[in-house]
């Protein structure tokens, strides 16, 4: 009897505790509490923290808390208000009108007005921002009054509406930068922005410290008192710091994927792969189309059939990736899955190579080629080894070549490779982040992240050019669908996987990833659950 009684008692006890947890959970979710210090990893130490002058990944994480854009973007990359409260695009797609917030102040107390926006978009960005320069060079920016900005274009430009986030178009203070040498302005070491956090201190080799902006324009926000971005050079030490709770946030490639799976199981940590929709990185195998045998589409197809993208996803990227089907990331509104598929098929690969006349010699070798792997750590070395093995199975002998980052960049930029592995962010719009790797005009020797593979197809060139100018969203989609079909048929690049950067947070830290910019958003909503 006694035994049974305790058993019932335990059941009741458990039920009660579940109820209590549920109540705490509900009330906890509704109350966002002020206070707390967020410690985040940041690696490597950035060279500077003014967006535009520097665009390195570790520059963006702290500086997007200091500087803001006119807009930000949700998970579907739809525009959301930031410094602009409302906006309107004219039907012909030529005029963009932004109504700015009235109660915004710079961190030094000066009021924020349309003058700052005009200066940033028409002077600062076209001069310093290598990525957004082409976008804003085509725009004429004026301000009819203190809180209205009008942007006029000569012809419609599809990606325009997705170019106003803090990374693409940071708004900087005109009263500090106007008339100075932007890149050497002393203010770059002590930046002044409008964001929810103010720059406090940069201890070289240690951390960047941001403190709460008490005059932030959104009442009661931000919730955090301050943020430390800590430079921890060793990835094992970073994982340890997360485990021990010394840091509460790590993202992108701060943590080796092999550790991510382990950390995900801990009860104190959360892992999400959302929040990189804006960047949308794709990894690929680039084949130099100026060289034999890569200039033959049958060879490229054979390579695609010989590689097992599911294996790459599961065994090399530990599941933190998804197989790529083509040039546009599946999170993009312009993505289509309706393209030629290349399932793992060794027989088909061999047949294609036979058809080309590449017959195996006595050792079973048909052709010998080199592969320059991305020098970003073990993960990429393993990818090279897998490619060597998989292509070896169909008689393509691969020699793995190595270089450090600078040497790797130099060889690819100068077209001095057979094959190479890399990844690139495809950005918020195909016209910004996709076209650059395929259009003929962008074959620029000596410049990285251009069309270094050497693909050239007048039909694709025209489609990319037309789609960029097309104001109608439906028509744009159709054009990009056609581009994807053609590029995948031609195997312009050997797309491998879409990378999914993990963002690992303490379970108590909330709202880190709330839109498409993820950890690169301004953190005005981030709070610690007590």
């Amino acid at each position: 009897m006694k035994l049974k009684f305790t058993w019932i008692g335990r059941l009741v006890g458990r039920f009660l505790s579940i109820c209590a947890l549920a109540i705490i959970g509900v009330s906890g979710a509704s109350a966002q509490q002020r206070g707390g210090t967020l410690n985040s990893t940041l690696w490597p130490e950035p060279p500077g923290i003014v967006i535009g002058i520097h665009l390195n990944a570790p520059t963006l994480l702290p500086s997007t808390k200091i500087f803001e854009g006119l807009l930000t973007y949700d998970f579907q990359l739809n525009p959301q208000p930031m410094l602009a409260e409302t906006w309107k695009v004219s039907d012909d797609g030529l005029t963009y009108t932004f109504n700015l917030r009235h109660n915004v102040k710079w961190h030094d107390g000066k009021p924020f007005t349309s003058k700052d926006v005009v200066f940033s978009l028409s002077k600062f960005i076209p001069e310093v921002h290598p990525r957004s320069k082409p976008t804003f060079q085509r725009a004429e920016v004026t301000a009819p009054d203190d809180f209205t900005v009008v942007i006029k274009l000569k012809e419609p430009y599809g990606p325009m509406i997705r170019s106003f986030d803090a990374i693409s178009a940071p708004i900087v203070p005109a009263h500090i930068y106007e008339g100075t040498n932007f890149k050497d302005n002393p203010a770059n070491r002590h930046p002044t922005g409008t964001g929810p956090f103010k720059f406090d201190e940069w201890k070289s080799g240690q951390y960047i410290h941001l403190v709460r902006n008490n005059d932030y324009y959104l009442q009661g926000k931000p919730y955090l008192d301050d943020i430390y971005y800590r430079f921890i050079p060793d990835s094992a030490s970073r994982a340890l710091a997360l485990e021990q709770g010394e840091v509460q946030l790590a993202t992108q490639n701060d943590i080796e994927l092999v550790d991510v799976a382990r950390l995900a199981k801990l009860s104190t940590l959360d892992v999400t792969t959302k929040g990189w929709e804006w960047g949308a990185p794709i990894s690929w195998l680039e084949m130099n189309l100026r060289r034999k045998p890569f200039n033959d589409v049958r060879f490229r197809k054979a390579v695609m059939y010989a590689l097992d993208r599911n294996f790459i996803r599961n065994s090399i990227f530990f599941g933190v990736a998804s197989p790529a089907t083509g040039p546009i990331h599946s999170s993009s509104p312009f993505y289509t899955s309706d393209v030629q598929a290349y399932p793992h098929d060794v027989a088909k690969a061999k047949a294609l190579l036979d058809e080309m006349g590449l017959k195996p010699d006595g050792d079973g070798v048909r052709v010998k080629i080199g592969l320059l792997g991305l020098p970003y750590g073990e993960l990429w070395d393993r990818l090279s080894q897998y490619i060597k093995q998989a292509l070896g199975q169909v008689g393509v002998e691969v020699t793995i070549q190595t270089a450090d980052v600078a040497g790797w960049g130099n060889r690819i930029a100068n077209w001095d490779v057979d094959m190479s592995t890399t990844y690139l962010t495809t950005l918020s719009d195909p016209a910004l982040g996709v076209a650059r790797s395929y259009i003929t005009e962008n074959q620029k020797k000596g410049v990285l992240f251009t069309n270094t593979a050497g693909y050239s197809n007048p039909e694709v060139d025209k489609l990319f050019a037309d789609a960029a100018k097309e104001p109608d969203q439906g028509k744009r989609k159709a054009m990009y669908a056609k581009v994807q079909k053609t590029l995948v048929d031609d195997v312009a690049l050997g797309w491998l996987v879409e990378l999914q950067w993990p963002t690992i947070t303490s379970k108590k830290l909330k709202n880190v990833v709330r839109n498409g910019l993820g950890p690169n958003d301004n953190f005005s909503d981030v709070y610690f659950e007590k």
Partner: protein
């Protein structure tokens, strides 16, 4: 009379050596393939020809190598180390910002090694061919042969992860402590593991050096005389054997002192120590030539300076050395 002549000769030699090192460094650094402008563009994820041109122009990378070398040497002579390509800050500022942390780390490791190493070596020599001697020699061999980063990771695993006694990385606690004493204690706590990691390697060297040197000296005639006089064994060991045996140790200590600036790259990386070694490591991968050359130059100056000190120390210890060099 010799001190003045020595000083002049030494100064001339030092200037020549540093100048030669500067030129050699410049050439060597440029031999590695890679272009700082491309690296910077790569980090920005942007392919813009104008951007590359601008960077090259800003730092005179577009001029012939010989002209660049000449400009650099001219600047170095006026003590101007140029600016970093990446952060656009003065290299001298970047170096001096990082110097205290490195000197603290390498200095602590230096003292640790200089105190523990000869002591243990003397112990091993006095107990030669016993279990303790063998244990010490095996330990010394292990720490001498094991890669330093691995020793660091094992110490972290043991003292930080398992025991939780010492912090695993950094120089200060994440939550800043108040008060001078509390802050000093905080830094010392952070210093312990990296200093021991770096020191253990040198301890191993000193142990082996001291033991070998003492055993060799122990067989000399004058030691036999000392024993015959009836001196206790510890007196013989400290006053007669160790003193003579110290000369190779002084020489090596001088060599090690030259590495005080550039010798901690690996340890600084493992322990996230904000010193010069890490600055050099990053600069190398970013092809930030000016920063790299600055670190090299500073290290070279240290080596030359400590070689002079060693010369003087050995001259004082042993008047037979260098009477008319």
């Amino acid at each position: 009379m010799w001190p003045l002549g020595f000083a002049v000769r030494w100064l001339v030699k030092a200037v020549m050596v540093v100048l030669a090192i500067t030129v050699l460094n410049f050439v060597l650094v440029r031999l590695s393939p890679g272009d700082p402008a491309v690296v910077m563009a790569g980090e920005a994820g942007a392919g813009d020809a104008q951007f590359l041109e601008q960077v090259r122009k800003d730092f005179q990378l577009d001029q012939p190598l010989a002209i660049q070398l000449l400009t650099y040497v001219k600047k170095v002579v006026t003590l101007d180390l140029g600016r970093s390509y990446r952060s656009r800050r003065a290299v001298a500022d970047m170096l001096f910002e990082r110097l205290p942390a490195t000197l603290l780390l390498t200095g602590a490791a230096y003292l640790f090694a200089l105190i523990i190493g000869p002591l243990l070596g003397a112990l091993a020599a006095m107990r030669a061919h016993t279990v303790m001697d063998s244990a010490l020699m095996v330990a010394a061999l292990v720490f001498y042969a094991t890669p330093i980063f691995w020793v660091g990771l094992i110490l972290i695993l043991f003292f930080s992860v398992n025991l939780g006694w010492l912090p695993a990385f950094g120089m200060y606690s994440m939550i800043q402590v108040k008060g001078v004493w509390a802050q000093t204690a905080d830094v010392l706590k952070h210093l312990a593991l990296p200093a021991v990691t770096l020191g253990l390697f040198y301890v191993a060297v000193y142990v082996r050096l001291t033991r070998a040197s003492m055993l060799e000296t122990a067989n000399l005639e004058y030691v036999k005389t000392a024993r015959a006089k009836g001196l206790p064994e510890w007196r013989v060991a400290t006053a007669h054997i160790l003193r003579t045996a110290l000369i190779p140790i002084i020489t090596f200590a001088g060599l090690q002192a030259g590495h005080l600036v550039g010798g901690a790259i690996v340890v600084e990386t493992v322990f996230a120590w904000p010193g010069i070694g890490r600055l050099a490591f990053d600069a190398l991968f970013q092809r930030d030539y000016n920063v790299l050359l600055g670190v090299f130059l500073l290290s070279a100056l240290m080596v030359v300076f400590f070689n002079m000190l060693t010369d003087i120390a050995v001259r004082i210890a042993d008047p037979r050395v260098g009477g008319r060099a």
